[in-house]
């Protein structure tokens, strides 16, 4: 895993008019990692990417792929050895979906039948139905086109994938799907992926390592997402990462917070809420006696949380109309960020923890989450002082 797939050495790109697109770039990308190039527009991230498949030639310096200087490899051969996904999918509009996916194998001389069969298989792995195989790109939605673009990049089974802002033109909901599917795909395939984006959130979500480019083509920082959030190298990086840096960095701390059992649950039986302290046979509320807290957690019969019910002055849960829904949930063992968010979004101030199957595991008061954050912080502080 420590093999280097890609190595930039003193790479610069200066255009004839004197603008520097890339300024003396040194960068090592380990094999099998997903590396994100991020930065504002005009920072040289796409230029750097395109040097890998010789769509752009550097003015000086060398770019090596798998130990070989790319300048020594014929451009067409080099390009066919890498998958390439671009912003507007770049599908060939006159070819059907399956023929688009089969493009590179066909260029390499694979038979039409074999490459089409392979293409149809790939459709499944990017979450598309086989029925789209004979359609033309114009018949697909933007999200579908991007999926086909990813399938096409995978068609010749290349060890390296270049992705140039592949998800920036699709709507946010589809983008989220595509992002998580890319992560799944990468878990299975372990390719070396270079992913270009201008969206720092996307970079932090996807990247094993993130290279932040500043204007003028300077590499400002190259680090893991966690390091980036915790210790930005300079003002530019700090600025670029933006607000909520502290909050977002909590994503990288797994919470070790003791769950508190839920003593009283309001179980929705369809007609009314019954009370069960987590037991199998809920009893009418009256039988359980008055609750001491202001809120009671309502669950359905499978113990999946529904929301919080306020407890009235008489000690009974309020009517169904009063149910407060929409608080976020914390998966037991998840990050401190989700735990804190679950506590903040809960009307009772308690984060609801759920098992993997979605049933209630317990609750955590907001104070406990804050204490855990404090402990992690001081632990890190001590550690860094000692070292």
């Amino acid at each position: 895993m420590t093999d280097l797939a890609i190595r930039y050495r003193g790479v610069s790109k200066v255009y004839p008019d004197g603008t520097a697109a890339v300024d003396n770039l040194d960068l090592d990308v380990p094999a099998g990692s997903l590396t994100v190039f991020v930065g504002p527009s005009g920072c040289g991230k796409t230029t750097s990417l395109r040097m890998l498949n010789r769509m752009v030639e550097p003015s000086s310096g060398t770019v090596e792929v798998n130990g070989q200087d790319v300048a020594s490899i014929p451009a067409a051969k080099l390009r066919r050895s890498m998958g390439y996904v671009m912003q507007q999918s770049g599908l060939l509009p006159h070819k059907t979906v399956e023929d688009n996916i089969a493009t590179v194998p066909r260029l390499n001389g694979v038979s039409k039948r074999e490459s089409r069969a392979n293409a149809r298989q790939l459709l499944g792995s990017v979450g598309l139905d086989e029925s789209v195989a004979t359609r033309y790109p114009a018949q697909l939605s933007g999200g579908q086109q991007q999926r086909v673009g990813v399938a096409r990049a995978l068609a010749s089974d290349p060890p390296i994938l270049l992705m140039d802002e592949p998800f920036s033109a699709v709507d946010p909901v589809v983008r989220q799907d595509l992002q998580s599917e890319l992560l799944d795909l990468q878990k299975r395939l372990h390719r070396t992926i270079i992913f270009v984006t201008h969206d720092i959130d996307e970079a932090i979500l996807l990247g094993n390592r993130v290279a932040v480019f500043a204007r003028g083509g300077r590499l400002a920082q190259y680090a893991t997402p966690e390091e980036l959030l915790r210790a930005p190298a300079d003002d530019f990086v700090a600025d670029f990462i933006g607000r909520d840096r502290g909050f977002r960095s909590l994503s990288f701390d797994n919470a070790s917070v003791a769950l508190q059992p839920v003593t009283v649950l309001a179980v929705d039986t369809g007609e009314r809420f019954l009370v069960g302290p987590g037991s199998e046979d809920p009893a009418p509320w009256q039988a359980a006696g008055a609750s001491s807290s202001d809120w009671v957690l309502a669950v359905d019969e499978r113990r999946h949380p529904l929301g919080w019910l306020p407890v009235t002055a008489s000690g009974e849960p309020a009517a169904r109309e009063e149910l407060r829904v929409g608080g976020t949930l914390w998966h037991d063992g998840g990050s401190l960020r989700t735990a804190l968010d679950a506590a903040l979004s809960s009307p009772s101030g308690q984060a609801v923890a759920v098992h993997r199957d979605g049933s209630v595991a317990g609750v955590v008061p907001g104070e406990d989450v804050m204490r855990a954050i404090e402990e992690q912080r001081s632990a890190r502080y001590d550690r860094s002082e000692r070292s």
């Binding site: 498949n53 769509m55 067409a76 051969k77 080099l78 390009r79 066919r80 390439y84 671009m86 912003q87 507007q88 770049g90 599908l91 060939l92 509009p93 006159h94 070819k95 059907t96 493009t103 590179v104 260029l107 979450g127 598309l128 139905d129 029925s131 789209v132 004979t134 359609r135 033309y136 790109p137 114009a138 018949q139 697909l140 939605s141 999200g143 579908q144 096409r152 589809v174 799907d177």
Partner: protein, 267 residues
């Protein structure tokens, strides 16, 4: 129409000659115009040279060309080659411009994608650029063909056999039916060839009319999706079919006939 029934075999012969003089210059002209236009799109300084140059060709009166060409080519003044060469020049005059437009209409992102996938230049030209240039190119080809069909008649003035012979002969002998037959036959050839080209364009640009041609396929896919009751549109391929219609059929049948008349005026 008595005249026609007595002379139909002559008319057929002339129509055949007319057809050959209509088609050969278009084919040769296309084979010359495409590489010229492609050159003009990749080397920008060539563009004005070719486009303006070819337009200038068009300003040479056809009769002059018919008379001057034998001197340049060394052919006999009544040789059909003169007409073919002259008409080819006129076809080039029209086609270079529309082929340049066709190549310039290509989506740069798509071309970049093709290069990034590993297409070499020649394969990219035949596998990507030409197929995508067809819609605009066919439009130009239809204008060139129809205008060429009308120009063929002019050759009759210097004695080259074609349907134009019916005009010159009919005028000389004052046979109105002969002239009418000549006009009708010319228009018929123009309409038939124009429609054939339209059809060719239709076949070659199926990918453009995705909204209309595969309605059946879409319905089937929709039904399948319903049956399997799987996920969202985005995954299953229900898609949003953009009902984009073709831009191929620029000059329609009526326009083609109008073009015949327009070019006829030049003679």
């Amino acid at each position: 129409m008595n005249w026609l029934s007595n002379n139909w075999s002559t008319v057929l012969d002339l129509a055949g000659a007319h057809l050959i003089q209509s088609i050969v210059p278009v084919v040769v002209g296309l084979l010359i115009s495409v590489p010229l236009a492609r050159l003009a799109t990749s080397r920008r300084w060539l563009r004005p040279v070719f486009v303006t140059g070819s337009s200038l060709l068009y300003t040479i009166p056809s009769l002059t060309l018919f008379v001057v060409l034998p001197l340049i080519l060394g052919t006999g003044i009544t040789s059909v080659v003169n007409v073919i060469v002259a008409l080819t020049l006129y076809v080039i005059a029209i086609l270079v411009r529309s082929c340049v437009d066709a190549f310039e209409s290509l989506d740069r992102d798509v071309l970049q994608a093709a290069t990034a996938l590993g297409y070499k230049p020649v394969r990219r030209l035949f596998g990507v650029e030409l197929p995508l240039a067809v819609p605009v190119m066919i439009a130009g080809l239809r204008v060139a063909t129809v205008s060429n069909i009308s120009m063929v008649s002019v050759g009759a003035v210097i004695g080259i056999q074609s349907l134009g012979t019916l005009f010159t002969d009919g005028l000389r002998r004052s046979i109105v039916s002969e002239i009418v037959v000549g006009i009708v036959a010319t228009v018929l050839i123009a309409i038939v060839l124009d429609q054939l080209l339209r059809l060719l364009g239709h076949v070659l640009t199926r990918w453009q009319r995705t909204g209309t041609t595969t309605a059946r396929e879409r319905r089937r896919a929709g039904a399948a999706r319903h049956a399997s009751a799987s996920g969202r549109d985005d995954r299953t391929g229900g898609g949003d079919p953009e009902g984009r219609d073709s831009v191929a059929g620029a000059p329609g049948g009526a326009g083609a006939v109008a073009a015949v008349e327009a070019r006829g005026d030049r003679a």
